[in-house]
């Protein structure tokens, strides 16, 4: 494809469908820059600190990434449709509190109710956006405070602790030597990667975000797709809430406060366009790994948390800067 462009430079001048290989190459590099960036961070941190490179530390990073990834994966689907889900952080708290309250009646029931509470919030979000025609930002912003308020009400504002060992095992036990939250993250990524890249639903998600009108004309049930992505995001946040309640050994209403912004940051760093229709799920995954690698590596190097905030903010802006340029070339 690129060789044809080299042989026929006139095609570019004539505004043809082909672009010169230099441009293709540049775009390829830009699109894959985050993968290289993650690698560079890992290598640099490993050189600067022997502690960073230990297997135990890799586990620490992946454990921190596990719940952040669940949120970012759900956020990816929502943002690909051109929406946004600001309620996921509060859902984490709500689901954690619900599961902690239900757990005396059984661990399985607690998990089901925790995840179910997230799914329910997602269903309300999705319905309000698709059927109610309320902008996603507004719906999920409202839901963010509703879910937090609900969690505070049912927990009476105090942590629900004294959880049984069976529940605590979710986040603190391993299977084949790998901690369960990391397994959950990998499985969720694999399944959702398949769903997005290999199913009709996945194609529809891109179509709805790329051009909703065209999608409707093409016979895609856009409302159903929209509702479904919010349900997915809510359910994944519900899972993250259960894992976190198990991890911190208590259901706490405020546990997920601010996580919605972390998930959006990961998605943006991963090169997924905030206007929808463009981006890859692997990007969001790498976005999460970059954030957690930075958190961990900068901590190990004893960099002040104030500087860490500046570095992370700059990274987000840089990622969008690149994204805007890629989008401009594409259009």
């Amino acid at each position: 494809m690129s060789s044809a462009a080299v042989q026929d430079p006139a095609a570019e001048v004539a505004d043809g469908p082909r672009e010169p290989w230099t441009r293709t190459a540049t775009r390829w590099v830009v699109e894959h820059a985050i993968f290289a960036m993650l690698l560079v961070f890992i290598v640099v941190f490993a050189i600067l600190s022997p502690v960073f490179g230990s297997l135990g530390n890799a586990e620490v990073i992946l454990l921190a990434a596990s719940t952040a990834a669940l949120l970012a994966l759900g956020q990816t689907f929502v943002i690909l449709t051109g929406g946004i889900d600001l309620s996921v952080g509060s859902v984490v708290g709500l689901s954690g509190v619900v599961s902690a309250l239900v757990v005396p009646h059984g661990v399985v029931l607690a998990v089901v109710c925790g995840v179910g509470s997230g799914l329910l919030v997602g269903l309300v979000n999705g319905t309000a956006v698709s059927a109610g025609r309320v902008p996603p930002f507004v719906v999920t912003l409202g839901m963010m405070t509703i879910a937090l308020g609900l969690a505070q009400v049912i927990s009476d504002g105090s942590p629900i602790s004294g959880l049984p060992d069976g529940f605590l095992a979710i986040a603190n036990n391993s299977w084949l030597g790998i901690p369960i939250p990391i397994i959950l993250m990998v499985v969720a990524f694999a399944v959702l990667w398949l769903v997005l890249g290999r199913t009709r639903f996945g194609m529809n998600v891109y179509a709805v975000g790329g051009n909703p009108l065209a999608a409707t004309i093409a016979g895609i049930k856009t409302r159903r797709v929209t509702t479904a992505v919010y349900c997915l995001s809510g359910a994944l946040a519900g899972i993250a809430g259960v894992v976190l309640a198990s991890r911190v050994t208590a259901g706490i209403a405020t546990t997920g406060t601010g996580y919605e912004l972390d998930s959006i940051a990961a998605v943006v760093i991963g090169g997924i366009s905030l206007v929808g229709g463009r981006g890859r799920i692997a990007g969001a995954m790498v976005g999460v790994l970059i954030i957690e690698t930075l958190n961990n590596g900068l901590d190990i190097l004893n960099v002040s948390s104030f500087y860490q905030d500046i570095i992370k903010g700059a990274l987000i802006i840089a990622a969008v800067f690149v994204d805007v340029r890629v989008a401009k070339r594409d259009s």
Binding site: G56, N57, S304, S305
Partner: protein, 355 residues
């Protein structure tokens, strides 16, 4: 097509990550520096103005004792604090000091640390049982005594009669529970003083401003005094009183001894505050942890009484903590050693008489 390419790239990256990590794992074993130069992992709930002030004391004390402090802030997120503890355990620090985000958490991490032989110390805020029983020591303020002390100061200022309102910290936190307990315990001794209302303003200036506005609408000038469980809320209530011209008429008392509050005690806007000396407290937590690593004696609980700051002693305290801070910090390690030996943990200066 691009999806597949991306995935193969991701696989390559993860493979490289795994290789890098396993390749380096042999280099890192135990990072702790042993008894001579102990490495102390210190995780705090958030960089509040109080903790930021205290960190200077931590750095000074660590320097004096030849210890290295790995400082982490959890941004009020338990999940962050859990990760930070896992990281400390993984790198094999010599001791861990925690200012906990939430009293009901951290059991698995404290168990892991103990299993690895890393002693855990708590400071500033407490942990519930069974976690606190699994830790070595607690260094912090006596919040019950502080509540009693601020209520006593206010009762005396009111001459034993009048109406008060109480601004509380976030409900359920150890600071709020203990300070409220102290205030109510002391209040019971004054039958002439009535509690009109009590509410949380979450340690926050703006929330206290709003709550106070509501109370002024409800009770007006019937309110003779505001008892606040920290200085930030006391200052917030003063902003509200100012809009009605009540500053100086309605009496206000707080806890913490923030710079802003000391200014207001000096100007008479607040009748008093209680000094929670952050550098002394967090610095002592480091000293206790180092003693633990070195096998020296340390207290199971170092409860510090907060001195009452009124117009009569505010200048001395302001000068010590803010104007000539460097000089105070020079003597801080010596003061901490002296307090740990005498058991008078809250003594503020080597020149002060023992309390």
């Amino acid at each position: 097509m691009t999806g597949r390419r991306t995935t193969s790239r991701l696989v390559a990256v993860l493979a490289a990550l795994a290789l890098t990590l396993t390749g380096c794992s042999r280099l890192s074993s135990h990072q702790g520096g042993g008894a001579a130069h102990p490495v102390i992992g210190f995780t705090v709930y958030n960089m509040t103005s109080y903790i930021t002030l205290g960190k200077a004391g931590v750095d000074r004390e660590a320097q004096a004792l030849g210890a290295q402090v790995l400082w982490r802030t959890a941004n009020n997120d338990v999940n962050n604090q859990v990760s930070q503890l896992q990281s400390f355990i993984n790198q094999g620090v010599d001791a861990i000091v925690i200012a906990p985000v939430n009293a009901a958490t951290l059991k698995p991490e404290i168990e892991q640390a103990r299993a690895k032989g890393i002693p855990v110390f708590i400071t500033n805020l407490t942990l519930d049982q069974p976690m606190s029983g699994m830790t070595q020591s607690y260094v912090g303020a006596d919040d019950v005594a502080a509540g009693e002390q601020e209520m006593r100061a206010m009762a005396q200022s009111l001459g034993g009669k009048g109406n008060i309102v109480l601004l509380q910290g976030p409900l359920g936190g150890s600071g709020e529970i203990d300070r409220t307990k102290g205030v109510l315990q002391e209040l019971a001794k004054y039958p002439g003083i009535h509690l009109l209302a009590q509410q949380t303003a979450d340690w926050d200036r703006n929330e206290a401003y709003n709550v106070m506005n509501n109370w002024l609408s409800a009770f007006g000038t019937k309110i003779d005094a505001v008892v606040s469980e920290n200085d930030d809320m006391a200052i917030g209530s003063l902003r509200s009183l100012a809009t009605r011209g009540l500053v100086g008429k309605t009496k206000v008392v707080g806890i913490d001894g923030l710079q802003d509050a000391l200014d207001r005690v000096r100007s008479g806007e607040m009748i008093a505050t209680n000094l929670q000396n952050a550098p002394l407290q967090l610095g002592m937590a480091v000293a206790v942890a180092v003693r633990g690593v070195r096998g020296q004696a340390y207290p199971k609980e170092a409860l510090m009484t907060m001195p009452l700051v009124t117009k009569s002693n505010v200048d001395v305290i302001y000068d010590r903590l803010y104007t000539h801070r460097d000089a105070y910090f020079q003597t801080l390690p010596q003061l901490i050693e002296s307090n740990l030996s005498s058991g008078d943990y809250g003594r503020q200066s080597l020149t002060d008489p023992a309390s």
